[in-house]
């Protein structure tokens, strides 16, 4: 197995987003970890190059705390616009993140629904249109809908990030069929974001042709987040290899793997 992994060089299969060639197809979020101190070890084990974080009012009890202090050098920072309920709020957060020196990548997240945290595709589209005009590399988090994805593509999004299931639910690819359609119909990279709870689910998304996956809760809430980060890294590579290898045809009935001639009991 090591030979196979070693002969497959992920940097020969890079993912181009915003003019950057990414060799890792695992994006990692930094929320919900028991302490910030574990974050550098998780990021190293994951091999992730793109890492998300959130902008918030400073915590007066801990005014020195800043997640950026725990990011390895050369990380591509992907601030999200979590907390935004409208396109205007998302645009405001994106501009603030850029002013904080985080580069020009942004994950648009516009949510009004507090129970399932499902994104508002309409407001997400408006924010995408505006931020693309301002020169941002825009990765919109969205409900997997083909019409909305086409409009996001036309608006200049750098990738499309459909949810697999609600944020933090660890329920996997509940929207699998809709994501499959996006992969088939949209020429932009499709990055499955939200809900992936197990490495096998990340592999499943990659095997069906997702360009990358974004994982946070599944790693942060694992018994051993560092091991889980490594497991996701392997799963994403395995799923990608499986996709590139071209899975065989599925059949309803059996098709013998062994020859159907020369049986012992033949007369």
């Amino acid at each position: 197995m090591n030979d196979i992994i070693q002969s497959f060089n992920p940097s020969d299969d890079s993912l181009l987003i915003g003019g950057v060639n990414l060799s890792s197809r695992l994006f990692v979020g930094t929320g919900k970890f028991s302490s910030h101190e574990i974050v550098p070890r998780v990021l190293e084990a994951s091999g992730a190059q793109v890492v998300t974080m959130a902008l918030r009012r400073v915590d007066w009890k801990n005014p020195q705390e800043n997640i950026l202090n725990y990011m390895p050098q050369n990380t591509i920072l992907l601030p999200n616009t979590s907390g935004a309920r409208t396109a205007e709020e998302a645009v405001r957060i994106a501009r603030l993140a850029q002013a904080a020196g985080c580069g020009n990548w942004v994950k648009i997240e516009v949510v009004q629904d507090q129970r399932y945290l499902l994104p508002d595709n309409w407001e997400t589209l408006k924010a995408t249109e505006q931020l693309v005009k301002e020169g941002f590399v825009v990765l919109p988090y969205m409900s997997p809908d083909l019409g909305a994805a086409r409009r996001l593509q036309d608006a200049g999004a750098a990738a499309i990030m459909p949810l697999g299931s609600p944020i933090g639910s660890n329920r996997g690819l509940q929207t699998k069929e809709l994501i499959r359609i996006l992969i088939e119909e949209i020429s932009l990279p499709i990055i499955v974001d939200a809900g992936i709870g197990r490495p096998s689910e990340a592999a499943e998304a990659m095997e069906m042709g997702a360009a990358a996956v974004l994982v946070n809760t599944a790693i942060a809430t694992a018994g051993d987040p560092v091991f889980m980060a490594q497991a996701f890294r392997l799963a994403v590579t395995a799923g990608r290899l499986g996709y590139l290898a071209g899975p065989g045809e599925r059949r309803f009935e059996a098709a013998a793997s062994s020859p159907l001639i020369g049986f012992l009991q033949e007369g």
């Binding site: 930094t30 929320g31 974080m53 959130a54 005014p63 202090n69 904080a100």
Partner: protein, 66 residues
């Protein structure tokens, strides 16, 4: 004089710059971002910007997020 910091009214001394306020509150200056009355205030202007009565200031930093 009174200003609003992150949505809460606060008394501060007059002749206080944004930079002094951040230092007094021990905010990490690296990668903090400030909005003054709804407009982003770039870091190079923190030292030269004097706070005025009723100013509304947002002081933001990055936290873990997905």
């Amino acid at each position: 004089m009174q200003i609003v910091v992150n949505g809460k009214a606060q008394e501060i001394l007059s002749e206080c710059t944004v930079f002094q306020l951040l230092e007094d509150k021990a905010v990490t200056l690296k990668a903090a971002v400030v909005e003054l009355n709804g407009i982003i205030l770039k870091q190079e202007h923190w030292q030269s910007t004097l706070l005025q009565t009723s100013d509304s200031l947002e002081i933001l930093v990055f936290m873990g997020g997905g």
